[in-house]
Amino acid sequence: MKCRVCREPAVIDVPRHNANFCGQHFLDMCRRQVMKAIDDFDMLSKDDKILIAVSGGKDSLAVWDMLGDLGYQADGLYIGLGIGEYSDVSGEYAQRFADERGLTLITVSLREEYGYDVPTATVATRRVPCSACGMSKRHLFDKAAIDGGYSVLVTGHNLDDEAAVLYGNTLRWELEYLARQLPTLPARNGFPKKVKPLVRLSERETAAWCVIRGIDYLVEECPIAAGNRHLGFKDALNTIETASPGTKTAFYLNFVEKVAPLFAAYALPDDVELRPCTECGSPTTGQVCAFCNLATKARAHEPVPVELITGRGARRR
């Protein structure tokens, strides 16, 4: 196989573009896709003060690397979720990436600063693990962005992530969620602007970016993720994609362009009355925000080791 651009030997084939690329021209293709997303969806300007949600995995390190490469200055935020060894190791990958490049990584530890961790919150709230985890992360990322005076919060969601969520929401016709599933969410009501610059790149492409750029990321998965619903949706979509390359791209990007506007009326109105949470000051509809409720319950529970969660009927891939 030869590179579509320079005819040198290719290192990767990208069926959805019906093209093969050498390392250099693959990186160029990725840059173009990210610039197009930033442009089309009005994500970032060079004056923005940017905070990136960093996990130590391929997507968050790839987006941090790419934004730097494209001339954006950004700090990272890592949250120690207390998911056993996985969390320790992922934190080391994030820190090493930042240190090697002289970047600023802010670190928050759930256990040290909020008195609980994800396994304990899962048991204390009887939710599925990713729900307690996701709620904690969203709250702390929002809070760090607002408190730190950042103008925009960047996450590493890629095309596969967004297509899988869209697939799940469509199968159930979750109109409220569909209305909100956009690559850029403007700042409002005390919440920061949020953007996903990788929505035009597949997971295979963000991983290939890391391999070609020599980025050492944590390949091992969160031990809790196994068996979650999104992985099943990703598998299903990849089966379709293999038979019909480009389907995931069309499914997601056509949704954003043609369908999401039709659902806009189902989004929660902008003018719902929010007031500061009496405990943490974050905007909420009630007295105490959902995060503080969760944290209070989890703190009252004795610490739960991660094995107790992963032992429960998890499906291994």
Partner: protein, 66 residues
């Protein structure tokens, strides 16, 4: 050839030569969700892997509500 798989980590011995796409098909792995890396370098799907090669098949799918 030596084939390193991840999640969970394991090693297989598979006779070469073999093309990358054939190796993935033999192992029932989807090309959309894996990269194949030989000596630290990515290889495309039609690459011929030699019996003496050591390759890593790296899954690229992450889970989790984000």
């Amino acid at each position: 050839m030596k084939v390193l798989l991840r999640n969970p980590r394991r090693e297989l011995d598979i006779p070469g030569p073999r093309r990358v796409h054939a190796l993935l098909a033999d192992l029932e792995l989807n090309r959309e969700s894996h990269l194949v890396i030989r000596n630290g370098t990515l290889v495309p799907s039609d690459e011929l892997l030699a019996d003496a090669d050591t390759v890593e098949i790296r899954p690229v799918i992450s889970g989790g509500a984000l």
